[in-house]
């Protein structure tokens, strides 16, 4: 019957993951052009109306495998493999995230299928899907096609935006026999939040501090600004070297790579060693008093000025806006 089957991940409360919803939107847009429909697969005891609500995001049909546990990949490989084979889907699509990778990869083996990961866009060519995926640290983008069907597409984190279209989906229950090895991994605890160790890789908003802060105390300004926006603080290698901030917060060629919704760089020059760690941030705002700082070449908004004057006022203004 062709068409695209999307895996819809959800948490223990039944809230669907936004990357999965984005993938459903992509499927909805393209399924017709490859001669089929967009459908979603849900595992676990998820209520009828919750499943049907995926129709609002573009799914025509939702397959529900009640007895398959959520949270680990291999049982879901069993579920998706069954539905794809039984219903003849041409493509399996995953939104970004760890489980998507693991399930997609397992399906590759199970179905002897081609797989592409870190996909940033999906298009149609001659009734077939072609995906775009960046390679070589985003310096080039490859167009990849599938030689046979089904093809497996794993999206990059945050690549697909969800779209609400109204509508409900038909819910169909499926029975899935788990493979012997699928029960050999047991989830002891899921989704534990770990406080003190701030994970800068997951933060939507990061305030990055660099040499321009002048001294270790400069990071207090960054922390206050980050707090006002609900974000976290990161640092360049130069200041970590100087002992102003911990290594766990370091971004760059040596250090972590991040792609938050907003990277606000205060007193950061934007030298390439740092740039490669944050250049894919959706929005880059830079404050630096040197008009020739390299960061201004790739920032979305560059402010040439003294951060010691600007940042405290900015923090106040944001607090006022949010509070008021």
């Amino acid at each position: 019957m062709a068409g695209i089957l999307v895996y819809a991940l959800h948490d223990d409360e039944g809230n669907f993951n936004k990357n999965s919803l984005g993938a459903i939107a992509v499927a909805a847009k393209l399924a017709g052009e490859v001669g089929g429909e967009a459908a979603a697969l849900v595992v676990g005891e998820v209520a009828d109306d919750a499943c049907a609500s995926l129709g609002n995001y573009g799914a025509a049909k939702v397959y529900r495998a009640k007895s398959v546990p959520e949270g680990l990949a291999q049982p879901i490989v069993d579920a998706m493999a069954k539905v794809i084979s039984d219903e003849g889907f041409s493509y399996a699509l995953f939104g970004g995230g760890l489980l998507g990778f693991e399930i997609g990869a397992g399906l590759t083996a199970r179905l002897g299928a081609g797989v592409t990961m870190e996909v940033t866009a999906v298009k149609v060519d001659g009734g077939k899907l072609v995906v775009e995926r960046p390679i070589l640290q985003d310096s080039e983008v490859a167009d990849v096609g599938y030689v046979s069907e089904p093809g497996i597409i794993i999206g990059r984190l945050n690549a697909f935006d969800l779209e609400e279209s109204g509508g409900t989906a038909e819910v169909v229950d499926v029975d899935v026999e788990l493979s012997e090895w699928s029960s050999k991994a047991k989830l002891v605890q899921r989704g534990e939040q770990r406080g003190a160790d701030v994970n800068i890789e997951d933060a939507d908003i990061l305030v990055g501090g660099g040499r321009g802060l002048g001294a270790k105390e400069g990071f207090e300004l960054c922390e206050q600004l980050a707090d006002s926006m609900g974000g976290a603080v990161a640092a360049t290698r130069a200041v970590v070297d100087a002992g102003w901030y911990p290594y766990a917060a370091q971004i760059g060629q040596t250090g972590k790579t991040v792609a938050p919704k907003l990277y606000l760089a205060a007193g950061v020059s934007g030298a390439i060693q740092h740039k490669v760690g944050m250049q894919n941030s959706e929005n880059i705002l830079a404050i630096n008093k040197d008009p020739n700082a390299p960061i201004f070449e790739f920032s979305d908004l560059g402010v040439v000025g003294d951060l010691h004057k600007i940042v405290p006022k900015l923090t106040e203004a944001i607090k006022a806006k949010k509070g008021g």
Partner: protein, 567 residues
């Protein structure tokens, strides 16, 4: 502020710290036949030659044990830390690999056309007739980085153990006999503390040790102190910064330039020039070399190279091209009088750049290094054949002294010094020397160590262009291109005093091509007479300039530093 010399602020370093007896228990020591420190042309030519000679010496080979030849190389691979012009004379390759056809040599091309230009800020005046020391017909344009990879591969095929990512941090000496070297520890933190994955180094004991460490020999210079081997003049250096560019139009000739942007007046003492060499059909390299005895604290070879590229004559050569490599390294320029008074002591020999075997006026050193390595190999095999426990390798010294190495470097022995009188006077004197093969004017033009030059804050820094990231680039972007991957929390391997007069600090800041040194911004603005120097050791590409100008480069952990491919 009065001019001040860096030598008044000597680095916190003691040669005795890097010389000592083996400390591992005898059963833990690693035994090799010949230990060669340095995987460059000298060391690898030595390794290859030893193994070639051993083919006819089965008895000696057996006595040398499981590992007849070990080459200890601090870079990730042999060639990772090598950078030079270079126009190599073919004699050494011909001697080492007589049956290898030239098509298989790791070279770009034979030099067929030569040109020398005197640059002014706007023009390029061809110098005809060409100064004879620049004639390169019959030589081969090569990359020492590629050459080393080639020689290392050959040596491995012949049975050598190339121990890359291994720093030789201590010379093992017992009863004034060199017994081998000790490899460096790995896994220490910023304060020198042992990290979770700390791995101590090992004593490598050998029947013969060859130091072929290159331009700033860490163990070599400590050995000079310990064994009293210093030459008549102190060692001195020039710093070269080089870039490789992919270009649209191939270059058909080897070009050298003199003059702009280096200043002519003796007051600035800016000696050097640039080289532009073709590298096959689609690449050229361009580099600027300057003596480290300049006097302006704001002089920067990297930035002068960027400025050079803006000259219309040079710009045309790289127009529309793309920079694909960058690197920096010093070259010893002390010449004949800086060579050590002995090249061999019991158990050890020194070969190549580390022994100042560079002919500065003709810019030749690669083939001398290889020849020296081969002489060392011959001396080793001859001596150990008679008695495998012999530590007498003085025959090596004789071979070098009776060879072209000695003869040619001696001819140029005074040719560097006259340039301290300024470009034109210097040029005239050197022409006389060249024509008379060094006989006139003769004598010994005494040299001083580069760090003894008094530094003043001048205006050179004002002339340098801001990076446009198409033609000109800043230092940090360039360091990134060198493939430098030094661990962030590694111990600081650069030894300098960190509170010095501003002139000294500024000298280091401008000199260093990798932006290792920085003066805190608030101190810069306050105009303080004495300032702090902040050292970002992980930027260091180990060029060696700091050793020339009042500090001391010691060895970071093996594997750190640049990964040059074709410099």
């Amino acid at each position: 502020m009065p001019a001040v010399a860096p030598s008044e602020f000597p680095p916190p370093f003691d040669s005795n710290d890097v010389i000592g007896p083996p400390t591992d228990a005898p059963e833990d020591r690693i035994e090799v036949g010949v230990a060669i420190v340095g995987g460059g042309p000298a060391g690898l030519a030595c390794a290859n030659k030893v193994l070639q000679l051993l083919e006819d010496e089965p008895e000696l080979t057996e006595k040398l044990g499981e590992v007849p030849v070990a080459v200890i190389e601090k870079g990730k691979v042999a060639g990772a830390h090598l950078l030079s012009g270079a126009n190599m004379k073919p004699s050494a390759m011909e001697e080492l690999f007589p049956d290898l056809p030239k098509e298989e040599w790791p070279v770009y091309q034979e030099v067929t056309k030569d040109a020398v230009y005197l640059l002014t800020s706007k023009a390029a005046l061809p110098l005809k007739p060409m100064p004879p020391n620049f004639k390169n017909h019959g030589n081969y344009v090569t990359s020492v980085s590629k050459l080393a990879r080639f020689l290392a591969e050959k040596a491995e095929e012949a049975g050598a153990y190339i121990l890359s990512e291994t720093a030789a941090t201590k010379l093992l000496v017992e009863d004034r006999i060199v017994k081998g070297v000790r490899s460096g520890d790995r896994g220490r933190g910023r304060e020198g503390q042992e990290l979770a994955n700390f791995e101590p180094g090992s004593d490598v004991v050998a029947k013969a040790t060859v130091l072929a460490e290159g331009t700033v020999g860490h163990l070599t210079y400590a050995a000079y102190d310990y064994f009293d081997m210093h030459g008549a003049d102190p060692m001195r250096w020039e710093l070269g910064v080089k870039e490789v560019w992919e270009v649209k139009e191939p270059l058909d000739r080897v070009i050298h330039t003199m003059g702009w942007p280096l200043r002519k007046s003796p007051r600035f003492n800016e000696f050097g020039g640039s080289f532009i060499y073709p590298m096959g059909e689609d690449k050229i390299c361009i580099g600027l070399v300057a003596g480290l005895d300049y006097t302006d604290a704001t002089f920067s070879v990297h930035d002068a190279l960027q400025l050079l590229k803006t000259h219309p004559f040079i710009k045309k050569l790289i127009d529309g091209g793309k920079r694909v490599a960058w690197g920096a390294k010093t070259i010893p320029s002390g010449g004949y009088f800086a060579m050590p008074k002995r090249l061999a002591v019991p158990g050890m020999m020194i070969a190549g750049d580390a022994a100042s075997m560079v002919n500065v006026p003709t810019l030749k050193g690669v083939h001398y290094a290889m020849h020296a390595g081969m002489y060392a190999a011959e001396a080793i095999v001859e001596s150990l054949k008679q008695d495998v426990d012999s530590v007498n390798f003085e025959a090596y010294d004789d071979k070098v002294r009776n060879s072209l190495i000695e003869k040619e470097i001696k001819q140029s022995r005074n040719m560097r010094q006259p340039f301290s009188k300024g470009f034109f006077v210097g040029g005239a004197i050197v022409s006389a020397m060249t024509v008379t093969k060094g006989a006139f004017p003769g004598g010994h033009w005494k040299q001083e160590h580069d760090s003894e030059v008094e530094m003043d804050i001048g205006r050179a820094g004002d002339t340098y262009p801001k990076a446009d990231n198409e033609l000109t680039f800043n230092k940090l972007d360039s360091v990134f291109l060198s493939g430098n991957a030094t661990r962030d929390d590694a111990p600081n391997h650069v030894r300098v005093q960190t509170h010095v007069p501003r002139e000294i600090a500024q000298t280091w800041v401008s000199m260093c091509p990798a932006q290792v040194y920085e003066i805190p911004e608030d101190q810069l603005e306050s105009g303080a007479a004495e300032v702090d120097v902040h050292v970002t050791a992980s930027n260091c590409v180990q060029c060696g300039a700091i050793t020339a100008k009042g500090g001391r480069l010691t060895l970071p952990e093996g594997g750190d530093g640049p990964l040059y491919q074709e410099t």
